[in-house]
Symmetry: C2
Subunit: 427 residues, 2 copies
């Protein structure tokens, strides 16, 4: 077989008819599949079920020195949970606040706090600085972009490379425009591309010279430990790089156990410089008396330590890896020969990024939808939902069972090829 | 014995010496007691321990129609939890959003949302309206006041009466000043006085004519079901009163199970008009993917329904009532005869409000502290920590065991009388 670009019109039409027949057969099945969100499968959630049998006795709810975790108090989280996240992020224990079930909520709160109060007690609130902007490496995470859009923060898309955001662009923008206050990053197994920022990228982040003194890097380390293979990607530790430099307070880091234990019932943390942590706590103590410490106890009793988490993540990988590989194998077999798409091959995280022919992503989404397969909306990976090339699609292979993800991928390759031929025939 | 006011100087000095000896004996014990916060005792928390044995089997984490509650989704909470809060608040199911462990966080978010977005999609954000103000019935809850202070909202104290806030004052202020945007209320068993707003007070709230169209009542129904006696106070349902009127969207109501199940590990809710709930959800969906549904499942499985909660609250009352009665009995015996204080006699909630001689609250707090008893700071029950008469103290009898609360109260009456005599002698 040859690439579609080299086929004549008659061959393309014949191929289209063959594919359309296949598509209609899928469609006739009346399927209902969902590969839209980065949700673990139920078999992954079963791995943590044992967590719910650990607090039966009242004594299990006390600290070694007699603190009753069932009661109010301890704003920044129980010591053992702080230790667990500190080990996971390779950061000092004192730079961690352990919070509730949602790191997204921590990120929203971090932006809202800067809006209402500024980055510290001497800063001007962002709401009082006129129009402000965030850099948004794209493709990226739609929920990050939604925070900016909701709060009226202008978003500037920055191209992603295989080493992370294009740092030439980032450096040029932040050093020239004081209204640029932040950048969203998923530095390891990025959403959706699965790219891990290179050491050089991280070092360039550490050495940024933002014109805005209240510029902040929102470092969403959501997939810090979410390897699909024994040899995971290695991410340089940005907070270690900035420690002791003039950029020491530039980074807010976030992570959670949402994809380690339970989505929506895990624990999360924010990690930052001592100065930032102190300021965050000074506002947080007004927001809440404290987060759910019993859920923290469940997590530390269940995982015990970082090694426990790592062992647990290998079990997740055993479930996830075949799903990723099924999709990628099919792409190699059923997309590669036709020259109508390229995609990333992540070694961790929850997503595969698929670039179809320019102008075809929305059409592929529509074809998939009509065949009963829900995907992340085309465009969602760009600020304002606007993919200028209309080519990027986020593939989330984790949630459906393996047989279903294979079926969904089979339909997807047909749709990608159909859309490409439609484009060629229209030209 | 006669009231101190009628004693001559010599008698006062003699009485002072006797009391001082008693005080010094207490002090010599090196006590460490805490009656500062409205925390349940550990025996109360034991009542809900069974909640932690309900999710051992994966099947227990699914809804009847197969939704896996361990995964993402369901922003407004699981149906059974919405039903439980709807029954508790006597409000329609659809007017409820069930959230995380902290109703305080919901209140903070409600104010922050109004600051950043305004009360609805067509409103002007409060941050863009210059100086804004809240009415603060006082004595009141220090954490409400802290939210205003943190966000730079000016606080105007409104006197409390035995029927709730002085509605003459409230009506006059809100109808005359468009910069008054809110009022904090704990309408049942108010913090700290244990006052339940009268029907007439609630009806006057319902009929308010605020000059600010974006004026909101923050109705913190924290003690909705927290009766000490079989016959609890009855609170008129404000949201039912405003339904269908021009004030339909004026009320944000909050409650939680923090003092039903576990402080910091319960579930909370916000209840409001359909229009408000829709707007809140439109912002909330940017803040988080959802709250901890498994903790909601624990609660509904454990309590089953409103009757289950009511039975459970009777067990709390059996533990709390003797503590309240011990304090009140001692006040009757050791304070009443001397005419140096008055106090409330709540039939529910977590607090007793004690008014000592004018100008003496800080002194009593100090004396207690030196004797090893931590109380809520004098002044904390007023905006800006400023009790103009320096006379109000909040008594929280719930946390220490009965023997300790008796001892703390014994010391307290001595301190109140000491401080009063000091004042008389200095005049």
């Amino acid at each position: 077989m040859t690439t579609y670009a080299k086929l004549d019109r008659a061959s393309l039409e014949k191929e289209y008819e063959t594919l359309l027949n296949a598509y209609n057969e899928y469609k006739a099945k009346g399927l209902s599949l969902d590969m839209s969100r980065g949700k673990p499968g139920s078999d992954q959630l079963d791995l943590s079920q044992g967590m719910f049998s650990l607090l039966e006795a009242a004594e299990s709810c006390y600290s070694d020195d007699g603190i009753d975790y069932r009661n109010y108090g301890i704003l920044d989280g129980i010591a053992d949970a702080k230790k667990l996240f500190a080990d996971m992020l390779e950061l000092p224990y004192n730079n961690i606040i352990v919070c509730g079930n949602s790191s997204l909520n921590l990120m929203y709160d971090a932006v809202a706090r800067c809006m209402l109060y500024g980055v510290d007690q001497n800063a001007t609130p962002w709401v009082k600085q006129g129009n402000i902007k965030f850099l948004c490496p794209a493709p990226g995470y739609d929920r990050h972009f939604a925070i900016c859009q909701s709060l009226g923060i202008e978003m500037i898309a920055v191209p992603m490379t295989k080493n992370g955001p294009d740092m030439d662009v980032v450096e040029a923008l932040v050093s020239a425009d004081a209204s640029i206050k932040g950048i969203w990053c998923v530095p390891k197994y990025s959403n959706p591309e699965g790219v891990t920022y290179s050491d050089e990228t991280v070092r360039r982040f550490a050495r940024l010279k933002p014109l805005a003194k209240d510029f902040r890097v929102f470092w969403d380390n959501a997939y810090v430990i979410h390897d699909l293979y024994d040899e995971g990607d290695q991410l340089l530790n940005l907070q270690k790089e900035v420690a002791g430099t003039e950029n020491e307070d530039m980074v807010y880091e976030f992570t959670s156990t949402s994809k380690i234990s339970f989505p929506g019932a895990g624990i999360s943390c924010v990690a930052s410089s001592a100065k930032n942590i102190a300021f965050i706590k000074s506002i947080m103590t007004v927001q809440t008396i404290g987060f759910d410490k019993l859920n923290m106890v469940r997590h530390v009793k269940f995982f015990k330590n970082l090694d426990g988490v790592k062992r647990h993540m290998k079990r997740h990988a055993e479930i996830m890896r075949p799903k990723f590989e099924a999709v990628l194998t099919l792409f190699d077999k059923e997309l590669a020969p036709y020259g109508v798409a390229d995609w990333t091959v992540p070694r961790g995280g929850y997503f595969i990024s698929l670039n179809v022919e320019k102008g075809c992503a929305k059409r592929v989404f529509q074809l998939m939808k009509e065949a009963g397969v829900v995907m992340t909306s085309a465009g969602a990976t760009f600020p304002y939902g606007n993919d200028p090339d209309d080519k990027n699609l986020r593939i989330a292979p984790s949630y459906p069972p393996l047989a279903e993800i294979k079926l969904a991928a089979e339909i997807l390759v047909v749709c990608v090829r159909l859309a490409a031929i439609e484009k060629y025939l229209a030209e």
